[in-house]
């Protein structure tokens, strides 16, 4: 398990977290390379189905990150997202899907260091959880 390198998909908003991750780079801060960043206009735009798609296509962990409350470029997208994630997490947990595999966060454009720390911490916790094979094997036919 020690050489397991988790695949992490990060769904981030364009205005805060994406810019924050940019700052991490321009500040020459290193962080775990296991993350694949997908840029969205807003966390409010991130459909819960996209998270399931990421898992189905091989992700072991997911980061969803956007602007801090009251900082949303569209004023309320992140508030709507927050409600969605509250309900979605509860549903996943009820279905027996480990919610520790989805890390939600607010990272502003000025928080380059926080982004690096978030990715590293998430990588480490997902590495400890191991591959999400329970979900990945759902891609098989299962019936017949």
């Amino acid at each position: 398990m020690s050489d397991f390198k988790p695949r992490i998909v990060a769904f981030v908003c364009n205005w805060c977290t994406y810019a924050g991750a940019d700052l991490t780079g321009t500040s020459r801060m290193k962080y775990s390379p296991q993350v694949t960043i997908i840029r969205f206009p807003c966390t409010g735009r991130i459909d819960f189905m996209l998270l399931l798609k990421a898992f189905a296509n091989g992700a072991d962990g997911i980061i969803v990150s956007g602007c801090h409350p009251n900082d949303c470029h569209y004023s309320s997208g992140n508030f709507h997202a927050r409600r969605r994630w509250i309900v979605f997490r509860a549903l996943l947990d009820f279905l027996g899907i480990d919610v520790r595999r989805v890390q939600f966060s607010w990272v502003s454009a000025a928080e380059g260091a926080k982004w690096a720390q978030l990715v590293n911490a998430t990588s480490e916790s997902i590495r400890q959880l191991g591959p999400f094979s329970g979900f990945h094997r759902l891609r098989g036919l299962g019936v017949e």
Partner: protein
Amino acid sequence: MESDKKLIGRSELEKLFSQWQSQGTRILAPKKNNDTIDFALVTTLAEVSLDQVQTVQSAKTSVFPRVEELFSFTSRDGRVVIRERDRNALPATVLFGVRPCDAAAFAALKAIFTWDSPDDLFSARMEKMTVIAVSCARADAYCFCTSVGGGPGATAGSDMLLTETGPGEYLAEIVSEKGLMAVGETSGLRPCPANVNKEAHLAKLEPAFAREKVAPALARLFDDAAFWAEQSLRCLGCGACAYVCPTCACFDIQDEGGGSGQRLRCWDSCGFGLFTLHTSGHNPRPVQSQRWRQRLMHKFAYMPERQQVLGCVGCGRCSRACPVDMNILEHVRSITEAKP
């Protein structure tokens, strides 16, 4: 071949089960799981449930699974390599404990899957399957096999039919070479004495409508939009009826996996609005009443006309499964009774 009649006890049946097991044949039979009884893989007779009138789902899954791989593909450097499904790898199967209506349904499925261009995956599954049916001692209010040419003790479609003539004692009618093969060298089968009266052990079910009247009545009613609207007002347009039906054979084709993956066949239903939706946006059956009409026309008019077989075996599953009590027997009867 001429039907061969034997008597067989439960202990001999158990021996048959272990015989099939040792040959590597998989056995599909009705099995209780929580609150529902459905076809599942079993290894012993003790696991089989035979007291129910019907399973929820039909036995068509044995030859027409709800999802199956047709072939797989890989794409590399602009070239696509297709790997056909290995027909020889399909398992030999004994389908045990189906009702005579389900056994009869294979004729309808066969008519569809071998019509025009034969479907070799379906045919391979059929060929490798032995059907051992068990007669019905009971029928319920939804059963109407006798109205569509079947019966609680009919042998059509079976390789062997068992009728319970006493506790743990069965009359076995071996009606095909496959049935003979399934019995093999098993000892303990006794010749059937002349005084065994099969009819006395069968459910009594009077025909509920005259089936020769259905197709002409449907032809007459085809354009009567008000009639169909009235028939289907409470229909919700789900696919429950089609998916539990032993003869419904519509399917969809899906490619999964992107550049490398599988081509899958999965069930579909004419009850869905999307079923006939054209790419242009036009839908020739835009409302549910037309889809309901299609369901009945297909089973009772188009199939007899084109394939010389009814698309309904009277198992009653669609009526039992319907969330809003669309009862096919009642609807067909009202069609035959509609005033010209």
